[in-house]
């Protein structure tokens, strides 16, 4: 999943200059970019694992990229889902390769996608097609503390903040979009603001996010609700 980002990021400086030129010179049908950094509301603290995506306003989004979507892997390492949060476009297929030596029993009761798949070591898992938008919460029936999110969006323009809270969405077609944000500590996906994309311009945004919920991940170690007393 890192690959497409690199592909996008490499020509960044050239594109940046071109975008600036196109904006100042002639409006040509070109792709814009968004550089977003997400911080926690009221705190100068970067928020990782935030999902940002753009929903076209007024018309269905016309994909610039080819329709064939890449296959995504959600691995199981050290009895954790890696990555913790995965964002993908509707119709994307994901696999659960299981790098652990233990078995897992991945499940999801989320309406967007029901999953009930036992993962054995060394045996290829069945690919799962996420065909409906929504948040799919992944759990393991063997290891209660394992938690992972798959955010399925009806959009080709999405990104996910890194550990510094930064994300970039590129090759955005001209038009008006709603910038949406999602995070495990938000009750649902939230519209941040409307973005207008023109030409190859690179817009920079700083988004404060009010994280209402506690971190749903259990504390590290063999934490168990009963151990904390009542």
């Amino acid at each position: 999943m890192h690959k497409p980002h690199f592909e996008l990021n490499w020509p960044l400086s050239l594109q940046h200059i071109a975008l600036l030129l196109s904006v100042t010179l002639t409006p040509v049908c070109q792709a814009g970019s968004l550089q977003i950094s997400v911080q926690e509301w009221g705190k100068a603290q970067a928020v990782p694992d935030a999902v940002l995506y753009l929903m076209p306003v007024g018309r269905p989004a016309a994909p610039l990229k080819p329709v064939r979507l890449p296959e995504v892997e959600i691995d199981q390492q050290q009895r954790q889902f890696v990555p913790y949060v995965t964002v993908l476009q509707t119709g994307t297929v994901a696999r659960f390769p299981n790098s652990d030596r233990t078995q897992h029993h991945v499940y999801s009761f989320s309406p967007a996608k029901r999953i009930d798949q036992k993962l054995y070591r060394g045996r290829a898992s069945k690919p799962v097609m996420f065909d409906q938008p929504g948040v799919v919460v992944l759990g393991c029936n063997i290891h209660d503390w394992m938690l992972g999110y798959v955010v399925v969006v009806d959009s080709a323009w999405f990104a996910q903040t890194n550990s510094k809270g930064e994300a970039r969405i590129s090759e955005i077609a001209e038009g008006n979009y709603d910038l949406m944000a999602w995070h495990p500590r938000l009750p649902e996906a939230t519209r941040i603001q409307t973005i207008s994309i023109k030409g190859n311009a690179l817009q920079t945004l700083k988004i404060p996010l009010r994280l209402e919920l506690p971190d749903p991940r259990p504390l590290p170690g063999l934490s168990h609700p009963a151990a904390a007393g009542y």
């Binding site: 009761f109 919460v137 393991c140 209660d144 394992m146 749903p216 904390a228 007393g229 009542y230």
Partner: protein
């Protein structure tokens, strides 16, 4: 002796003070011990309550932890989560019921993230599946904040433990609430573990009892006490408890007074800021009875001990007090003995120094008083001439003898015959010697008989013998023998004789005075009958008993004019005229009828009332004389007066006054005196007679010949008339002897210038003899019996009318007496 109230006594005061002080100390000790012990037991109860609370909390915590674990396991069940994920209420409900059956939970709820109860095991599978609001929003709130929540609360009348845990799949999709009822077994277990009573109360429109280890009846009582204020001590149906209030919502031990008003209102109104889920209170109670049992035992031992000590101290103080008061009582007793005249009592010297001094003082006082009283008694009771007791002493001794019961007491009254003559002829000195000789003789006779001799006055002696009838015979024998011999006194031989009167107690009287009177009467009887001895005749007792009432009657008689004067005429034997009459008193008693003067005159003489009587007679006599004058029959009225009257210095004045008041001549009143009357105390009697004589009142000697007076003696008296005693007159016609005596008496009297009156003229023969012998007047039944005034006047009238031829007519002018 006046004795104050009992509490003023020294003994009581000492006892009270000692016992009071001890009681005070005891009470202080008991109070101190009580308070200290109570504090100790209170603290112990508090400690037990505190540890009870710890146990309670620990148990609850463990319990809740287990419950939470169950709930967590339940919530993590994959099947259950699958059911939840189905979002079909009926499926969820069925899954819940399934879980409840598995876990044995009393209650299971599934609540979604919005706080709506989706499923509830209480609903069953039939009812509507309408979501409702979760009933314990604060529990939900806490679960949201902390990931889980637990509470113990009353729910539908049951004490319920509730835990709330999230359903994670794997993020929280809802909440499961697991409820487990607390049954009575758990409560009983807690009670047996801690010995504490536990009650769970809840405020929901007033306080309600949810569960309790107390008996159901007591529960309501306790609930009644859970009001606004809570006190750590309460009594529920007579059982005292110390208690501790646990607020299950707030970690704050409710010790001492808790203001329940500060607790939040019922659940729905509670503000989350207080972090309180409900107003659930647990009351832990320690019954003090069993805790206090040893203390109560100690207390009762203390009280009994106190009582014992108090009694002992009371006894000790009584004993102590008696150490002081008993000798004092003895001294008081001694003092009252001294007061009563007992000086013989030997005092026991008390051990206490001060009291010993007091006792010595009393003892000396006793001796001194005895000495002085002895001297006074000597003066009072003894006759200086003979050394015998005097009348007062004799009376005293006699009374003492009489006061001892069951004793015969004999009183002998001895009167020396003719002592006056001895005195007159041989001199007073000799008379005294006669008396002394008699005293010695009597003493000599009486001493071996253990009797008492006294000189009662003049020539009268009294002898008292106790229990001695036989001794009396002996005494009389001895006296008779001694009287038969002539006594040698001052080298002169004299013939001393005496008359004796005897009275016995208690037969003749119970008092000294009565006995002496009886003996006196008997003695006079003896004298009269010229015998040596006469015993008091009980037949006269009746007569004497009347005296007392007679005296009262006599006074009344004088006041009510029951008395009247009868007149017996004296007839002039020369000319048969009647110009004199003797007034004789008559008493017509309203109840007893006629009472003879012999019945009351002696008694009047004894009591001294004779003086008043005499005055009355004199006045009435004078008044009657005035009436006679008025009737044209002037008479000389003769009135008898007694020795007592002669000793009365006011008699003369009285006579003078009466004569003046009546308006009669002085010579119309003649006073007659018995010869014995003049013999006694002749000095003063003679004075009176002289004064009367000077006044011009004629005087006569009555009953001449009954005594021992000689004409030579009578000659000295200022009298003009002699009345010869009737005992010489009655036989004068038959006895030449008597005629001779009467004749010589008349001759002598005439030669001395006296008129002679003969009393007791009952026959004409007597009258003729008297006439022949030269007697001047005659008086008696032959002429007339005593007559009332009217009858007398009538008699005089008839005599004047019927017998004028017999003698020369009576001259109205009376020959003067003098």
């Amino acid at each position: 002796m006046k004795i104050g109230p009992w509490w003023r006594s020294l003994r009581v005061r000492m006892a009270l003070m000692l016992a009071g002080l001890l009681s005070l100390v005891l009470i202080l000790v008991v109070v101190l011990v009580t308070f200290t012990d109570l504090r100790i037991y209170e603290q112990q109860a508090a400690r037990e309550l505190h540890s009870g609370e710890l146990v309670f909390r620990r148990l609850l915590e463990q319990n809740m932890r287990q419950l939470t674990q169950s709930a967590v396991i339940l919530a993590a069940d994959y099947g259950f989560r699958t059911a939840v994920a189905s979002q079909d209420p009926l499926t969820i409900q069925s899954a819940l019921i399934n879980q409840a059956q598995r876990s044995g939970a009393s209650l299971l709820l599934f609540t979604d993230l919005q706080g709506q109860v989706i499923a509830d095991t209480r609903r069953g599978l039939e009812g509507p599946m309408t979501p409702t609001r979760f009933p314990l929003p604060l529990l939900l709130e806490q679960a949201r904040q902390k990931g889980r929540a637990a509470v113990i609360t009353g729910m539908q009348g049951q004490l319920m433990r509730l835990v709330m845990v999230p359903v994670k799949s794997p993020v929280t999709v809802g909440w499961v609430t697991l409820g487990m009822a607390v049954d009575h077994r758990a409560l009983a277990e807690f009670k047996s573990l801690t010995h504490l009573e536990m009650s769970f109360v809840q405020r929901e429109q007033g306080w309600q009892m949810v569960a309790s280890t107390l008996q159901p009846g007591i529960q309501q009582d306790l609930l009644g006490q859970v009001q606004d204020w809570w006190l750590p001590r309460q009594t529920v149906q007579g059982v005292a408890y110390q208690s501790r209030l646990l607020d299950l919502n707030v970690d704050q031990p409710a010790w001492s007074v808790t203001d329940l008003r500060a607790l939040p209102q019922p659940l729905v109104e509670a503000s989350p800021a207080h972090n309180r889920l409900s107003t659930n209170l647990v009351i832990l109670q320690r019954p003090l009875d069993e805790l206090l049992a040893p203390f109560r035992a100690l207390q009762s031992v203390l009280w009994w001990l106190g009582l014992l000590i108090m009694m002992l101290s009371l006894l000790a103080s009584v004993y102590l007090a008696r150490l002081v008061t008993r000798p004092i009582h003895r001294l008081v007793d001694l003092a009252s003995r001294i007061r009563d005249g007992d000086y013989q009592h030997q005092i026991e010297r008390p051990g206490t120094t001060e009291l010993a001094v007091l006792a010595d003082g009393l003892s000396h006082m006793q001796t001194a008083i005895a000495d002085r009283e002895g001297k006074i008694l000597d003066l009072l009771y003894n006759d200086p001439l003979t050394g015998l007791l005097n009348r007062a002493g004799f009376s005293h001794t006699l009374e003492q003898a009489l006061s001892r019961p069951y004793q015969d007491v004999v009183v002998v009254l001895l009167n020396i015959d003719r002592f006056q003559q001895i005195n007159d002829t041989l001199g007073h000195r000799f008379g005294d010697q006669v008396l002394q000789g008699m005293a010695q003789a009597l003493t000599r006779m009486i001493n071996p008989l253990k009797g008492q001799v006294a000189r009662l006055g003049g020539d009268e002696f009294g002898i008292m013998l106790v229990n001695g009838r036989g001794q009396l015979e002996k005494l009389l024998d001895e006296l008779t023998r001694s009287f038969d011999q002539q006594q040698m006194i001052s080298e002169k031989l004299v013939d001393v004789r005496a008359s004796l009167g005897i009275a016995h107690a208690p037969v003749h009287g119970g008092s000294a005075e009565l006995l002496l009177t009886c003996a006196d009467e008997a003695m006079y009887e003896a004298k009269g009958s010229k015998s040596l001895v006469a015993e008091y005749h009980p037949g006269k007792q009746q007569f004497r008993e009347e005296h007392l009432s007679l005296l009262g009657d006599l006074r009344r008689a004088v006041e009510h004019n029951e008395l009247m004067l009868y007149y017996q005429p004296k007839v002039n034997l020369r000319d048969d005229s009647v110009t004199q009459a003797e007034a004789l008193i008559r008493w017509q008693h309203p109840e007893r009828g006629f009472i003879s003067p012999i019945a009351f005159i002696p008694y009047a003489e004894q009591t001294g009332y004779i003086r008043e009587l005499t005055r009355w007679i004199i006045c009435r006599g004078c008044a009657d004389a005035a009436l006679m004058n008025a009737a044209g029959k002037p008479m000389r009225v003769s009135i008898n007066i007694s020795t007592h009257d002669l000793l009365d210095p006011t008699l003369v004045v009285c006579v003078e006054q009466c004569i003046k008041d009546a308006g009669i001549e002085v010579g119309q009143l003649c006073l007659e005196i018995t010869e014995s009357g003049v013999m006694d105390d002749s000095g003063r009697a003679l004075d009176t007679l002289n004064q009367l004589h000077q006044l011009g009142v004629p005087l006569a000697i009555d009953d001449y010949g009954s005594g021992y007076s000689s004409l030579a003696y009578v000659r000295q008296l200022p009298v003009t008339e002699l009345k010869i005693d009737q005992m010489y007159i009655r036989q004068v016609a038959e006895s030449s002897n008597d005629a001779m005596i009467v004749h010589s008496t008349i001759e002598l009297a005439h030669s001395l210038g006296f008129k002679v009156v003969a009393e007791g003229v009952e026959t004409d023969a007597v009258r003729q003899v008297l006439d022949r012998l030269g007697c001047d007047y005659g008086q008696g039944y032959f002429f007339s019996k005593p007559l009332a005034l009217d009858d007398l006047l009538r008699w005089l009238g008839a005599r004047e009318a019927g017998a004028p031829s017999e003698k020369a007519p009576a001259s109205t002018s009376e020959p003067p007496c003098s």
